[in-house]
C-alpha cells in the first residue's frame, strides 16, 4: 500500500520527524504521554529516545507519536526495527496511526538503502490494535507487510523487508 492507497489525513494534520523539530522535543513527548497515561513514567524515560515521528493536528498540537527500537527475533533469527504508535484517543481517525507506520517504514528503509543504518534488515510490527487487526486481515498488506505468525498474546506479527535483505540461514 503506497501512501496514495489510504485515505489522506484530515485537513491540517501532518506527520513529521521528531529529529530537528523546532517546537517539539523529548519534554513535550513525555508530557503528551503522561497526559494520556500512555505508559508508566519509568518506561517513558527510556522510550522517549526511540521517538521517530510525531503527528500534529491543525493547531500544531502533538497528537501522535511513533517509536522504533531494535530487537532480535528468535523466530526469524534476524534483527528488526519494531515500531509502536500511540495516538491520542480523540484523534484516532483518519489513518493517523497508519500514516506514522508508513512514514517510519519509508524513513528506516531509506537509511538502509543508503547504507547509513543497516543494523536491521526490515521492520516488524505487532498488530495489537483490535480494530486495525480486524480491518487489515489480508496475509499480505499492500504496504508490503507480510504475516509471519502470532506472538504469545495472539497479536499478528508482520514484517517488511528492506530491499536486498538476506535471510540468515543456519
Amino acid at each position: 500500500m503506497s501512501h496514495q492507497d489510504i485515505a489522506p489525513l484530515p485537513a491540517g494534520y501532518r506527520v513529521q520527524l521528531l529529529a530537528g523539530h523546532e517546537a517539539i522535543g523529548p519534554a513535550e513527548v513525555m508530557a503528551f504521554w503522561a497526559d494520556h497515561r500512555a505508559m508508566p513514567a519509568g518506561e517513558a524515560v527510556g522510550r522517549v529516545h526511540e521517538v521517530l515521528f510525531v503527528g500534529l493536528d491543525p493547531g500544531d498540537e502533538l497528537v501522535a507519536v511513533s517509536t522504533a527500537y531494535l530487537q532480535r527475533s528468535r523466530q526469524m533469527r534476524m534483527t528488526f526495527w519494531y515500531q509502536r504508535v500511540f495516538v491520542a484517543p480523540e484523534h484516532r481517525m483518519g489513518n493517523l496511526a497508519f500514516r506514522l507506520l508508513l512514514a517510519g517504514r519509508d524513513h528506516l528503509r531509506a537509511l538502509y538503502e543508503s547504507g547509513a543504518d543497516r543494523r536491521a534488515a526490515g521492520l516488524m510490527v505487532e498488530v495489537q490494535h483490535r480494530g486495525a487487526r480486524a480491518h487489515l486481515v489480508n496475509a499480505v498488506w499492500r504496504s508490503d507487510f507480510t504475516f509471519v505468525g502470532q506472538n504469545h498474546g495472539g497479536d499478528h506479527m508482520r514484517v517488511h523487508y528492506f530491499p536486498g535483505a538476506l535471510a540468515p540461514l543456519p
Binding site: Q75, A139, T146, F147, L166, A167
Partner: protein
C-alpha cells in the same frame, strides 16, 4: 524480483500428471528409485502426490514435482509444500524452476477460482544443508517471503495466494 526465464529446452513439455498418459506412476517410481531419490517405502505413497511432470523429447519423465498439504503450527495456516526431483540426465535445463512456476500458477488459479481453497499459500522449506546459503528474504524462490525458522528447525519461505487472510487468534 522478476521470475527467471522459465522457457523449456526444445522438445520438453510440462503436463499436469493427472491429465497426461505418456508417463505412468511406475515410470516415476522407477526414476526415483534408479537415482535413489525416493525409496520403496515412500514412493508408493508419494506417487499419489504427483502434480506436474516434465517430459523429455524421448517421452520419458525428466522432472516431476509433488505437492502435499500441511499445517504450519506457527502460522496456524495450511500450506502446500512442493518437492521437485529432476533426473540427473536432464539437469541444468531449468526444469525444476519451470515446474515450480507452473505449480505456482496452477495453485493460484485453483485458489482464485474457488476450486481448491484448502491451502493458504505455497511453503518452501529448505531441508538440504547444502542449500542453506544466505538467500534473499523476499523473492525466493517465486515471490516467497522468509517467515522464519519452522518447528523442524528449517528456514521457511511462504508465498501466500493473492487475497488470502491471516488466521484469527489462537483458541
Amino acid at each position: 524480483m522478476a521470475d527467471p526465464d522459465p522457457q523449456l529446452p526444445p522438445g520438453y513439455t510440462i503436463e499436469l500428471f493427472a491429465e497426461q498418459a505418456a508417463v505412468s506412476h511406475e515410470d516415476v517410481i522407477e526414476m526415483w528409485e534408479r537415482h535413489g531419490a525416493v525409496g520403496p517405502s515412500v514412493s508408493g505413497r508419494r506417487v499419489h502426490e504427483l502434480l506436474l511432470v516434465a517430459i523429455s523429447p524421448d517421452g520419458e519423465p525428466a522432472s516431476v514435482n509433488t505437492a502435499y498439504l500441511e499445517r504450519d503450527p506457527d502460522l496456524l495456516m495450511d500450506l502446500w509444500f512442493i518437492r521437485t526431483f529432476t533426473d540427473r540426465d536432464h539437469r541444468m535445463r531449468n526444469l525444476g524452476l519451470a515446474l515450480l512456476l507452473k505449480a505456482r500458477d496452477h495453485f493460484d488459479q485453483r485458489f482464485a477460482g474457488g476450486d481448491d481453497t484448502r491451502g493458504s499459500g505455497l511453503g518452501f522449506e529448505i531441508e538440504n544443508v547444502g542449500l542453506r546459503v544466505h538467500g534473499d528474504a523476499t523473492g525466493y524462490p517465486v515471490g516467497a517471503t522468509f517467515v522464519g525458522v519452522n518447528h523442524r528447525g528449517n528456514p521457511l519461505w511462504v508465498r501466500y495466494f493473492p487475497g488470502v487472510l491471516a488466521p484469527g487468534p489462537p483458541a
